[in-house]
């Protein structure tokens, strides 16, 4: 649209600002949350507590790294919570028969295999990933119960639980792994052919197809990454808890999706990145931690979280409208 000249300069600055806010709204939100909790609880802004926030957030965070890949690709994976439970159960349950590290490796492979299976089913059947992975969510959870005999599996060698007790200052190994994975996959997204083509497929699948991009291959790869991330989160969780609950990771797929979307990654694909996801994950973790420090009853916490999610997304929508059109 062409418009009178005097408006142009003003509009352009405003537009750039709105764009910046629109694309980074999650950090504004995170800052606000940190400010609010710092003033309302004396325990919040301590090194120890912030370290805890990172560790608590890292599990959802690692799941969110895989979910971001899948979502930018234009798909969704609902089975990450169940995959996490399976990997965790295998990593602990197999230790007595095949040893600690082979068990961990098997747990990891189970995630990779299930991710690849999800991806292949989505790519070959043409079914929507929502349906495919909803089936996987139910089926894998069933498998976990069958494998564990409906009981929590316990480690016998407690040195297993000491692995994640490595700290860099207040930052736990789990949190370090989350950040390392996020940074690595951010690099994959921006600098590798697979990463950029993931955007191309999610953004305009027809254009990608016409350009000869191998859509199915990218989908399989991203679901495999997502499964692998779920397995890593599951293994780290089993190390931290020393047990594998068959119910572990229940509805975590929802928290993961919330974290990713909260960050600003687009649910329909083509837009987003790991920085946004880190922002979303941290915001979610800060909210949970802060509300707990304030002794908020569990269910009130859920209500607040739900409200915040909708608020953050409406803010995103509002800024998006002002920014571009």
């Amino acid at each position: 649209m062409s418009m009178p000249t005097p408006f142009m300069a003003d509009r352009r600055i405003g537009k750039a600002l709105a764009n910046l806010l629109m694309r980074n709204h999650i950090w504004v939100f995170l800052t606000l949350a940190i400010l609010v909790f710092s003033f309302s609880s004396p325990y919040f802004l301590t090194l120890n507590n912030l370290g805890n926030v990172l560790t608590q957030g890292a599990f959802i965070g690692i799941l969110a790294v895989g979910m971001t890949m899948v979502m930018i690709n234009g798909e969704i994976d609902l089975s990450v919570g169940a995959t996490l439970a399976l990997a965790s159960a295998l990593a602990i349950g197999l230790q007595d028969s095949i040893g600690v590290w082979p068990a961990v490796f098997t747990g990891f492979l189970s995630g990779v295999a299930l991710g690849a299976l999800n991806g292949t089913l989505v790519a070959l059947s043409g079914m929507h990933s929502f349906i495919v992975t909803l089936g996987a969510l139910i089926g894998i959870r069933g498998l976990v119960f069958v494998y564990s005999g409906e009981n929590a599996l316990m480690v016998t060698d407690f040195s297993y639980t000491e692995y994640p007790e490595i700290y860099l200052g207040p930052v736990s190994l789990t949190a370090i792994i989350f950040f390392a994975l996020a940074l690595f996959f951010q690099w994959v997204l921006t600098s590798t052919r697979h990463g950029r083509e993931t955007y191309a497929v999610g953004d305009n699948i027809e254009a990608a197809n016409d350009a000869g991009i191998k859509i199915k291959r990218h989908k399989v790869i991203n679901f495999t990454i997502c499964g692998a991330m779920a397995a890593i989160a599951g293994i780290l969780l089993s190390m931290r808890l020393g047990t594998a609950e068959p119910n572990a990771g229940r509805i975590w797929e929802l928290w993961t999706i919330i974290a990713v979307v909260l960050g600003g990654t687009r649910l329909i694909g083509g837009f987003g990145n790991m920085w946004m996801t880190i922002g979303g994950v941290l915001t979610l973790a800060v909210l949970r931690n802060g509300l707990r420090l304030l002794n908020t009853p569990n269910y009130v916490e859920l209500m607040v979280m739900g409200g915040v999610l909708i608020l953050a997304l409406s803010l995103d929508k509002l800024l998006a409208h002002k920014g571009v059109h």
Partner: protein, 506 residues
């Protein structure tokens, strides 16, 4: 000149239709070859066969001397056959450079992108076309014209020997069109065979060397552009003589239907005042981006004005949402059929009754018999070619889709109908039918406002023409003063600077 691509006796059948019937034609290196025909004549099918999107059932395609079978767009592109889509085939979130080389990004052995090479190569392709687009810009931030240039740069980057342009000027302003033509000539000078598909005769006669006419899936003939004229091409396309291309309604004006006073919306248009009477066809001419659509959308309640007044049949009114406007008897037929006008997966029956479900239902239960009666009535009235009330409109030709858009708004029996680019992208025969229809509506006492970028159309069907430029009404012409020259003068005096048109969004 050498023949770069030749098509011989290519046949393609879809269920129930022979889309291409032993089609033969050839493209020479360095020529611009127009492919014309009414909608449904087989142009798009032929183009898709060439670009590897459809496999032909029979016949042969010979490219640079050897018979080929292209079964994917990638394969076609490797051979240097590139299609510049009407609906652009770009990823808005990716950069210009990434889009130019989409699917063929340079990487090292580990699959890591060679970003600098990508950028450099893209820059070279853009430079060769004389374009100042920056390779790192996000494609979604570019105007349609510049996005199209990105697709053309693709042809340059892949060293195309055949470039197929499908309706490339459908959403361009005149300045942008000139720029595009310059680019096409640059490709031509480099020996690229250009196929140019368009409905716009003036463009075809401006840029092409030869014209191939298709009708009902068959080639009617290939002629040198210099040795023919619009009349004979039109005759070849429709197989009959069009007595008069335009139909102007007889003048039987009634009372004033709508008056607009000082309508202003910051950044879009300002101080727009006009009126239209019952039985009158008012043309609204202007370049794309002049604010025409925004004005009528504001009248209709899609947007809210900052200031200004509306009078409907003498009474001051305001329309907070389109619902109030519809209830008063206004109809707006929007510009883009696919985005605003039709639910593509629904059939003609549902599309026709969609905005008026209250009239088609009893206590919220749909009256299907009434819907079907209305559908049949409009199918007959507008001569819509469809297999039945449930055929999804997505499978109809552009002309027939447009007729359903009209049907949908006409069955509300409006008193004022606003038509935004009613004949954009549809073939000559359907155009003429729609013009006739518009004249018929006015003669029945409707007030009609027609927005069009096609000057002959505006001049041919309106009783009065308003010219718009840069968000302002710049001139008004009565029937006796209407001429292409006057219109061009009126809008070009206010033509925005090129820099402005280039950077402006949308």
């Amino acid at each position: 000149m050498d023949t770069v691509l030749s098509v011989s006796k290519v046949t393609k059948t879809f269920p129930g239709v022979k889309a291409l019937d032993a089609v033969s034609f050839d493209i020479r290196a360095g020529e611009v070859h127009a492919l014309v025909g009414e909608n449904g004549a087989g142009k798009s099918t032929l183009m898709k066969v060439l670009a590897g999107l459809h496999a032909p059932d029979g016949g042969e395609i010979i490219h640079q001397g050897e018979p080929i079978r292209v079964n994917s767009p990638l394969e076609a592109r490797r051979r240097g056959i590139l299609l510049i889509h009407q609906e652009l085939s770009l990823s808005p979130e990716l950069s210009v450079a990434e889009n130019i080389y989409l699917g063929a990004w340079p990487t090292n052995a580990l699959g890591v992108l060679r970003k600098r090479k990508l950028r450099r190569d893209a820059q070279a392709a853009l430079d060769a076309l004389g374009s100042d687009i920056r390779p790192e810009s996000r494609v979604g931030d570019l105007s349609i014209a510049r996005q199209q240039m990105v697709e053309v740069a693709r042809a340059q980057a892949f060293n195309a020997n055949v470039a197929i342009f499908d309706e490339p000027t459908a959403s361009l302003t005149d300045a942008e069109k000139d720029q595009l033509f310059k680019t096409i000539r640059a490709l031509q000078d480099r020996g690229v065979g250009v196929v140019y598909i368009s409905h716009k005769m003036d463009e075809i006669f401006e840029i092409t060397d030869r014209i191939t006419v298709l009708r009902d899936g068959q080639v009617q003939g290939t002629v040198e552009t210099a040795e023919t004229d619009v009349g004979s091409i039109t005759r070849m396309m429709i197989g009959r003589e069009l007595e008069s291309y335009f139909h102007r309604a007889q003048e039987k004006f009634g009372d004033e239907a709508l008056r607009v006073e000082g309508l202003t919306k910051a950044g879009l248009f300002s101080d727009v005042s006009f009126s239209v009477r019952a039985g009158e066809v008012l043309g609204l001419y202007g370049l794309v981006g002049a604010g025409r659509s925004e004005v009528v959308e504001t009248i209709f309640g899609v947007r809210q004005a900052d200031s200004g007044k509306l009078f409907w049949q003498g009474q001051e009114v305001s329309f907070p949402t389109p619902r109030q406007a519809i209830d008063m008897g206004l109809s707006l037929v929007p510009e883009s059929r696919k985005e605003q006008g039709l639910v593509l997966n629904m059939g003609g029956r549902e599309n026709t009754s969609l905005p008026h479900l209250l009239d088609f239902s009893r206590m919220t239960v749909m009256d299907r018999a009434k819907e079907l009666r209305t559908f049949d009535e409009y199918r007959a009235l507008l001569e819509i070619k469809t297999t039945g009330p449930e055929q999804p409109v997505s499978t109809l030709s552009g002309g027939n889709q447009q007729k359903f858009v009209l049907a949908k708004w006409l069955c509300a029996a409006p008193k004022l109908i606003i038509l935004d680019e009613p004949t954009r992208g549809i073939d000559v025969g359907s155009k003429s039918a729609i013009h006739e229809l518009i004249a018929g509506l006015a003669e029945k006492g409707l007030a009609v406002i027609v927005i069009s970028s096609e000057m002959p159309e505006v001049l041919g069907i309106s009783h009065r023409v308003l010219a718009m430029a840069e968000g302002r009404l710049v001139a008004e012409f009565k029937e006796t003063e209407m001429s292409e020259e006057n219109l061009i003068n009126a809008v070009s005096r206010h033509k925005p600077t090129p820099a402005l048109t280039m950077t402006a969004a949308e």
